[in-house]
Symmetry: C2
Subunit: 219 residues, 2 copies
DNA sequence: GTCTATAATCCGATAGAC
DNA sequence: GTCTATCGGATTATAGAC
């Protein structure tokens, strides 16, 4: 409705215009719902509280594509900020620590859902942004998770192929989240808590009792 | 280029018109690539070998939406046919049987990739179709996979929470596939073979040595 | 069943008053 | 910075010849 007047003294000059921010919000919501091609500038203007059909949008962005690109960037920054929240101290009891770590990861995916939805829906339209986000989410996320995992399992024997174990864990968490998002139901109707504790138990059992690979005779 | 003339004797009367089929092919390819809103009927006509801009499309479908809906239905049928391929006999050696089962599941996801891409990209546009496909893929797939799993593990002790174990396995396979599709890379750069054998090993270890849940004192 | 041609609408983007 | 008004082009869909 009205701007909270932060331009009175010129002190907070770096703050983005509220209207601009509302346009980004509207763009995010609509592109998530209808996709880039299904969202019109008129729709965005209307949801942002501007007169639909007026070009007011264009006083803030050169084109629809520019606005959507900025939405991606903003969501990536948010995702990175959310990730920093997870830097908590180590916990002693491995099963509970792991279960909590996995639950945290599921919460994290829930929080960055907008970004994930954008990636899924507009896959292929902005390859540069996708590559950048992929690097940030996958590489950074994977190395950090690997650190957490080894820390949580500090007094367990190492797994035979820790990197593959990591891939399985990350895939499971990702897949559980996406199945819920896309179908509105959990796989096999299993709750997040049950999922987390089962996955944690799997990891711990595997690191407690690493079986010999059949056909692989270690001396 | 030219139709393989199967209308010569009227014998194969149930075969769909080749042009109609080409329109569906073109629609699938373009909607996968650009989304529903980003695909125009003119594009579809051009890719289907019709004169772009002519309404020839409309001699076969009432609207773009109708064609896309039919694409969904066709892909669902294909996915169901592909699933029937997996009904193979049981294998004796559990680790290898499980690894092969997981690899088969990954192959299956690769084959139904078009359907998965459609679901991801157009999520929310056709709720009825999504619900129908969700029921078919999730429910049917889950019960069948549960059967396979218990069969492959026939001489192993049961897991404490088989349904949750199933959810983890299905989530992992789904997540591995989707991460590859959306980012063009495997999670943690782990190959499908490595992924499958690691996941199989996890399952087997968990069913070989089911640990007591801490705080849960079973008599 | 495919074509040319076109109607009717929608959309992205701009110009200029306030 | 927002509005009214509008241009030019793209898009869905139809009409009618062949």
């Amino acid at each position: 409705m009205q701007e909270p007047s932060c331009t009175g003294n010129g002190y907070v000059s770096q703050v983005a215009s509220p209207t601009r921010e509302r346009i980004l919000d509207a763009t995010l919501a609509l592109v998530q719902e209808r996709g880039f091609g299904g969202t019109t500038v008129t729709d965005i203007e209307e949801l942002a509280g501007l007169s639909p059909g007026s070009g007011s949008f264009y006083r803030h962005f050169r084109s629809k594509e520019e606005a959507v690109r900025e939405v991606y960037e903003r969501e990536l920054e948010r995702a990175q900020r959310h990730r920093e929240t997870f830097e908590r101290g180590p916990v002693d009891d491995p099963p509970q620590a792991l279960t909590r770590r996995i639950t945290e990861q599921l919460d994290y995916m829930e929080r960055i859902k907008p970004l994930i939805t954008l990636l899924a829906r507009e896959h292929g339209r902005f390859p540069d942004l996708e590559a950048k986000i992929g690097r940030s989410l996958l590489d950074q996320g994977i190395t950090e998770e690997a650190d957490h995992l080894t820390r949580d399992l500090h007094d367990h024997p190492a797994h035979g192929d820790p990197r593959a174990l990591l891939a399985v864990v990350i895939s499971a968490i990702t897949g559980y989240h996406l199945a819920r998002t896309f179908f509105g139901r959990s796989p096999a109707d299993v709750t997040p808590e049950r999922f987390a504790s089962t996955l944690a138990e799997l990891i711990i059992t595997a690191t407690l009792d690493p079986p010999d690979t059949p056909g692989d005779k270690t001396p």
